[in-house]
Structure formats: C-alpha cells, structure tokens
C-alpha cells in the first residue's frame, strides 16, 4: 500500500506546529492535511475519514480529548495520537482511556514520533490485511460438490475440468474417502455427456461372476436364475459415463474382459454370442498403487495404459488441512439440512482438534465425525468433546478412560474404523493394514453387526 494513501490530519491551533509537522511528515510521502481546531478536524473527518489524527490536547473550543472521543465514536479505525506540551500522568491516562493510540510530548524526539507513526501505519496495514485475508478465506474453488482452497487440489480440479471436456478415459487415484466418486460425478456433470446417465459401480463389492454379469449384462439362461435378458452397466450408461470404483481389485479375467471392451467399444453379455456397441466414457478409480500392481504382475499393463490416459490424484485430507474449516462449514450446512438440526459451527477448540487429527478416512471420516457430533449434541456450536477425537493425535494409542483388555480395544477400534469407512470392509482393511479375510474373521469374532444403515456397529459387549 502506498504511503500516499495513509492520510494524516494534523490538528493544532498553532500554525507553526502545523507547518513544521506537515513539512516533516510530508517527506515520508504521507498525504497530510491540517486543521486549526477541533471543529474543522471533525468537519474534515466527515468529508473523508483520515487514517491518523495528530491532535493537540489544548485547543480553544473543542479540545483534543473531546476530538479524540468523538472521532473514536464515529471512526474507531482512525488512530489518534495526542500531542501535549506538558505531559502529566492524568492527561496521559485520560487520553489512553479515551482510546488514544499514544500521546507524545512537544517538541517530539524525532525517533520517537517516527516510530509511533510507523507503528500506527503497520498496525493499520495489518488490520486491512486481516480484512483481505478474511475475504480470501471465504474464497473457495468449487468444482461441483468439491470445494477447496488448497492450491494443489485446485490445480487438480482445474485438470479435471479440462479432462471433462475430452472423451478420454480418466483414472482417479486417491485414498478412500477423498471424494473419488464425487470427482467422477463432477467430471460427468461438466462433460458433454451430462444429459446421459452416470452409472457408478464398485468393483470390490462383488464376486467375479456377479461383477461380470453386472458390468456386461446377461442373456436369458446364461446361468441358473437368469430368467430373462438383462443389460449391464455398460449398456445402462450408454451415451453417458461409467464410473468403475476400486478397479485395482478386479480379477485377471475381468481385467482382460474390460480391456476388450475398452479396445473394441463393444460388450458381449454373459451367455451371449453377439457383441453390442457401447458408447461410454470410463472413469476408473482406485486407492491402490496400480503401477506397483502392474510391476508385481497383479494388474495388466495393457489395461493400466488404457485406463491411465488422464490421471487425477486426489490429495488425502491430511495434506490439505487448510480445507478443513471450509469442509466443516460445508458439511455442517449439508448435515443441518439432512438431519433437520441447525448447527452453525464448531468451537475454536473443536476446530483445533479437527485440524490436529490425521484423517485416515479423509473427508468421509470428517463427515462421519461431524455427523456423530451432531447426533450426540443438541447445541448450535459443536465442542471438542462432541467429536470423540483425541487431541493427542499421533500418540495414537491414547489411553482409554477405563483400561480395557487388548481384545476389547481391538474390537472397539475395528468398529470405529468400520464406522469411518461407512461399513466398507475393503477400505477398513486397508486402513487397518490387514487383509479382508482377516477383517471378516475379526468382524465375526467380535460380533460386529451391520446396522440398518449398512454400517457396522459393535454388538453390546457382554457385561
């Protein structure tokens, strides 16, 4: 900000003081004005407020203290510096009480006044900067349901926006809960295909044969129970977008089938002989390291190349923590409407806890934590205690309130991870770093049952 825009008004009944001070401060490049009395000063303030007022304490008519009071009432952002020929403790105390920035004794020590004025200018710049930052804080980048202020994610979303316009296959990488499906939906909505269906399919949820018939459809009599012909997801998505989630989990046979479809743009229904043409844009997603899977021979290289035309990687939440306040706002807004309960915000302490958490389950986990907090509380501002998160994140094995057995801790932890992943066993297994079979075994062992909403919850422990 230019010094010229810092406007300093000198208010003193002595002309020589006004002249000497305006000449001296003018050489700093400030815009200087002068007023011989309080009334003129107030009139000049009315016309256009000044950022700094240097006001003589003793003036005929409205004295300095009165000018100070009236200015602070109407223009609290204006800094008033009181000048006095005789400083007494009383005048100083009165001036400071009335809101003076400081007071200086005439004649001034040049360094003292320079420092005071510099301090005021710096402080006012900070206030302005704060206002600008607050405005910037509100400024967010939106790509449909994805919001961010993180420069890295912003670049990713820009790429997605560009990719949306092309017909190319998109591969979305990212940990579970980072919003891969949201991004796929956004790409579809932004693409020329947005008038046609968006069909999502999780490849991890089903067995190989079931997945095959789901994807490609089947002919009547293709297998026991195939009572009629059914079209698959490829056909259902005709003209639109097919989102294949957890593509890294599909079997070698399906990898080959999928490769064929991508190459030939035709599908053959299970049990059928003729292939039908399909016009589908594929968006595939995975939280696995596909490249490594290729190197280790678990994923076909040719399919990987087919899918890996445009790759978009979504950052985990822990790497874009600056988005947490924004996401909290957005999620609370959504949840307030969904749960029909008005929650305005989280307390600063609660925000500190949210910012400290490492979010292995990413945005989905954040949403779950907030939803839980809204359910257990009935206040408009969520407090840290409602979140059920420990502030000492990192000392991961926080001591529970009541010491429990290792098994009990494991049971509770698995239940909480399953809750975070909305009951998705594959995701939970990944977070827990155990294979799915082991996790299923533990779910059975601990009697974790699926609740009505599809999520697992711990069965009431025997007492």
């Amino acid at each position: 900000m230019s010094k010229k825009s810092t406007r300093i008004l000198i208010v003193d009944d002595e002309e020589i003081i006004r002249e000497s001070l305006s000449g001296w401060l003018g050489k700093d490049g400030y815009t200087i004005g002068t007023a011989p009395d309080g009334a003129t000063a107030l009139k000049l303030m009315e016309e256009s407020p000044w950022s700094i007022l240097l006001v003589d304490l003793k003036m005929p008519g409205i004295d300095g203290l009165e000018v100070l009071k009236r200015v602070k009432e109407r223009w609290p952002d204006t800094a008033v510096l009181i000048m006095t020929a005789y400083a007494t403790v009383d005048t100083a105390v009165n001036a400071m009480k009335a809101g003076a920035f400081d007071y200086v004794v005439k004649p001034f020590d040049p360094e003292e006044v320079s420092l005071v004025v510099e301090k005021i200018v710096a402080q006012q710049a900070l206030v302005r900067e704060n206002v600008i930052l607050r405005k910037a804080l509100k400024k967010e980048y939106r790509f449909h349901d994805l919001v961010t202020k993180s420069p890295a994610l912003l670049a990713t979303l820009e790429l997605a926006k560009t990719a949306a316009r092309s017909p190319s296959t998109v591969l979305v990488l990212g940990e579970s809960g980072t919003g891969k499906e949201l991004l796929a939906r956004a790409i579809h909505a932004e693409s020329p295909r947005n008038g046609k269906p968006f069909v999502a399919m999780s490849c991890a949820a089903l067995t190989e044969t079931l997945l095959e018939s789901e994807l490609f459809g089947y002919e009547k009599g293709a297998f026991t129970g195939a009572n009629g012909r059914r079209e698959g997801k490829f056909e259902a998505a005709s003209g639109g977008t097919l989102f294949l989630d957890e593509i890294g989990d599909i079997s070698p046979k399906l990898q080959l089938d999928l490769l064929r479809v991508l190459e030939e743009r035709r599908v053959t229904r299970v049990g059928g002989t003729d292939s039908v043409p399909v016009d589908v844009r594929i968006i595939a997603a995975t939280n696995r390291d596909l490249r490594r899977a290729v190197e280790e021979g678990r994923f076909r290289q040719d399919l990987f190349y087919r899918l890996n035309v445009i790759t978009i990687t979504l950052l985990p939440l822990r790497e874009r923590k600056e988005d947490i306040p924004l996401l909290v706002d957005r999620i609370l807004e959504q949840l307030s409407s969904e749960l029909k309960r008005q929650v305005e915000r989280v307390s600063p302490e609660a925000m500190a806890v949210l910012l400290a958490h490492s979010w292995p389950g990413n945005v989905r986990e954040l949403r779950n934590v907030l939803e839980r907090a809204m359910v257990v509380s009935d206040v408009p501002v969520l407090e840290a205690r409602h979140l059920g998160l420990s502030l000492q994140e990192g000392s991961s094995a926080a001591m529970p309130e009541h010491p429990a057995s290792l098994e009990e801790i494991e049971r509770q932890y698995i239940a909480s991870v399953l809750k975070q992943t909305s009951g998705n066993v594959t995701h939970a297994a990944r977070i827990l770093d155990i294979d799915r079979v082991t996790l299923y075994a533990k779910i059975r062992k601990y009697g974790l049952k699926r609740a009505e909403d599809g999520e697992f919850e711990p069965a009431t422990p025997a007492r």
């Binding site: 010229k4 000497s20 001070l21 001296w24 050489k27 004649p107 001034f108 020590d109 040049p110 320079s114």
Partner: protein, 193 residues
C-alpha cells in the same frame, strides 16, 4: 544554471576536508557542478533564545536569498538546529524548493575522540545528499542504505551510505528532466546494493 552552491555558515571553522567531502558526495550523486563558498554573514535571527537552538526554517528562508545565481543552495553549519515540533534536526530542506541546510552539531558526541572528525564528516555527507535530495523532490526511501532513508537518529544515519539507491537516482534524473516533483510517488522496495 543547474549549479549547487555549498555555503559554510557555521560559527567556527569547518575543519580540514569537511566541506570538500560534502562537495564530492553532492557532485557525484547529483551530477551537477558544485561551488564552494563561505558566507561573510550568518543568519543571526535564526537563534531561538528560549530553546537555545537555531531555527532551521529561518535559516532556509535566509539561504533562499543568498543563492548567488545557483539553482540550489546548501548551507552547512555547526549550530544546533530545530524545527518547532521536534527537539532537533540534523538538517532541513524545502521539498522541491531551493534551499537546504545541514549541521554537524548532532552528528558526533565528542569531536576530540580520534577518528570522530572523519565519522562526523561522513555523516555530514549523508545528510547533505539527503537534504539536497528533498530539494530535487525526493521523498524518504524505504531502503535503509539509501541516502534518502529517513534518519531520525544517528543509528539511522550510520546505517545508510552517502549514495542514492538506484531507484532514487533514476527518480532524480526523471524529476530534473521533466517532472512536476510534487507528483512523486515513493518507491516501496528500491534496489538494494
């Protein structure tokens, strides 16, 4: 004629080399001829008995009448200077005016200390370049090493050099070539050398 008149108006003898140093610095920084002269009289009415100091503003008014045809006049003195609002000043100049004054009075504590004379001489050169800069329309510079940096204390004087930073030098040329000096904008981040 774009000449600078350098006028000694002090009460004592300036001492060897003092004015020559100012002469050199001013001529180098402003690329103008500098004429060294000694005034036969001095601004007597500038003394303020109540403050026991000399009013720099009254000295400036006095200097304006003694330019001897030069377009800038720089008075150098050894008396303690003040402006009404400040306890003292190292010097004063009219912004985009004709006259400037600098004093050695506050530039050293004890002139008897060996080497103090040279220190005062260097500080004087800095303040002379500074005050003369104001007459050419230069404002205070944010570069603490530039001669145009504000110097409310000796610490600030010592932090700077007797030279203009690149931006102030360019600005001086610009102002002397065409500009209305009152339209000058300060530069916030001048080139540091």
């Amino acid at each position: 004629m774009s000449e600078v008149l350098l006028l000694w108006i002090g009460q004592k003898d300036p001492g060897p080399g003092l004015l020559e140093g100012v002469h050199r610095s001013v001529a180098r920084e402003y690329e103008r001829p500098v004429r060294l002269s000694r005034s036969p009289d001095s601004p007597e009415d500038a003394f303020d008995a109540r403050r026991g100091q000399h009013s720099s503003s009254r000295i400036l008014a006095w200097l304006r009448e003694r330019h001897e045809g030069a377009d800038r006049v720089l008075g150098v003195t050894d008396v303690d200077l003040f402006i009404p609002i400040l306890t003292f000043v190292f010097g004063e100049a009219q912004l985009s005016g004709r006259a400037a004054v600098v004093s050695t009075a506050r530039l050293g504590d004890t002139p008897l200390i060996p080497g103090e004379g040279a220190r005062i001489a260097l500080r004087l050169q800095k303040e002379a370049v500074h005050e003369l800069g104001h007459t050419y329309g230069l404002l205070h510079c944010a570069d603490a090493r530039c001669a145009m940096a504000r110097s409310p204390s000796l610490r600030h004087v010592d932090a700077k050099t007797p030279a203009l930073c690149r931006a102030c030098r360019a600005r001086t040329r610009e102002l002397s070539e065409n500009g209305d000096p009152h339209e000058q904008e300060e530069h916030a981040n001048p080139d540091r050398r």
